[in-house]
Amino acid sequence: MRDDISNTEIHAYLDQQLTPEQASEFEERLKKDELAQKKLADYQIIEQSIDGLYQPVFDEKIPAHLLNTCEKKSYNYLAIAASVLFFVIGWLSSAQNNSFNTPNNNSLAQDLETPAIFAHSIYSVEKLHPVEVKATKQEHMNHWLSKRLKTTLKAPNLSKHEFELVGGRLLPSTNERMAAQFMYQDNNGERITLYIKRGEWQTKETAINHTQKQIKNERFNVSFWVDDDLGYVLTGKTSKATNQILSESIYQQMSLNTTPLVALR
């Protein structure tokens, strides 16, 4: 029986590249080799730590744009050429009206983002009546807003991120549609609003877009996205990073909560 354990053997054992017989023979010899024991133990810690380091990426929800890439059925060069063409057209038209921050289409900016930010600027500063229905009547509020928007709507819980629900309200919006606004507040009194509107969006699913908007000398960080027929806008003076975390949390909670009750129109 050989005595010295080679480095190659230690790695092969760690990486389960040995046959069961080789592995048990290795374990026997390992008992007499303290240096090899130490090396193996160290390598194991490193392995586990590397796994731990990148596990969060593995567990993340797959970004929509990557899923979309795989779901394009007739993937060919024509499609690529077409998408390039659309991009150029989109870029040219958006460059004209100076809204390059809002990719894909104008209706997202006009019919979702703008009314949401406006509603935020109106109600988030309101002292007496920031909301129509207070968080204490949350169940009633969810039921009511769901009924009016003809979808299943549930105010997401952001307590984990230190934002408590203040309440919600129903709002008129563009294209003869309604929208729901949920308001949240943190310990410092900082308020954020989540604006949700059902509509016929050109894109059924977008990535979470981040942008900054200025209204009356006040800067807001805005995140907006579309998931199926619901458009979402999160507005606040919170940092972009906070907005991103909150948006992802909302996105995940809402994708579990909402199922349209009735077809649009």
Binding site: H11, D15, D42, Y43, I50, V57, E60, T69, C70, Y75
Partner: protein, 169 residues
């Protein structure tokens, strides 16, 4: 959706994890690398032999794309740490946190060729033969690179009198 597309989606988390680890100290964005890999795979769909190892094939594509990008810009000589990568470190246990931060830094200091071998084995659990095929190098080279990278990490992480860490800007 075709079977091929379904299988592709199945491996996206694997590709994203590897890309995040691989691209952490270069200027190319991990998800862009994944996107490019998926697009290339869809175009070259016919080159994939049915029932052969799709996962290894995808990693081969990703490796080639990454190498091309690195060669093009000689990116990996540059050092930068993405902001969002930092958020993966949990702040709950300070000693663990320190170890993980150190590990992350040491990983980024590894030569790219060694790092690739180690990540394919550590994160993806590929066999040495599979890694040799993916990277198009002899199995012996896989083993020597693996040892060199692991030993480098071990030396820097477990030395008794650890010298103070170089500060990352």
């Amino acid at each position: 959706m075709t079977l091929f597309e379904k299988k592709l989606i199945e491996y996206i988390p694997n590709l994203r994890r590897y890309a995040a680890a691989l691209a952490s100290n270069s200027h190319c964005h991990a998800d862009d690398l994944v996107q490019d890999t998926l697009e290339r795979a869809l175009i070259k769909n016919s080159l994939w032999v049915r029932n052969s190892n799709l996962r290894a094939w995808l990693f081969t594509i990703m490796h080639n794309l990454f190498i091309n990008q690195v060669n093009k810009a000689n990116l990996y000589a540059l050092e930068s740490i993405d902001d969002h990568q930092e958020s993966h470190i949990s702040a709950e246990d300070p000693t663990q946190d320190y170890f993980v931060a150190q590990l992350k830094q040491q990983l980024e200091c590894l030569p790219m060729r060694q790092k690739e071998v180690m990540l394919l084995i550590s994160l993806e659990g590929f066999s040495y033969e599979e890694v040799a095929k993916i990277l198009d190098i002899p199995v012996g080279t896989v083993m020597s690179r693996l040892h060199r990278s692991r030993e480098k990490l071990r030396q820097s992480l477990f030395r008794e009198n650890i010298s103070p860490l170089r500060q990352v800007k």
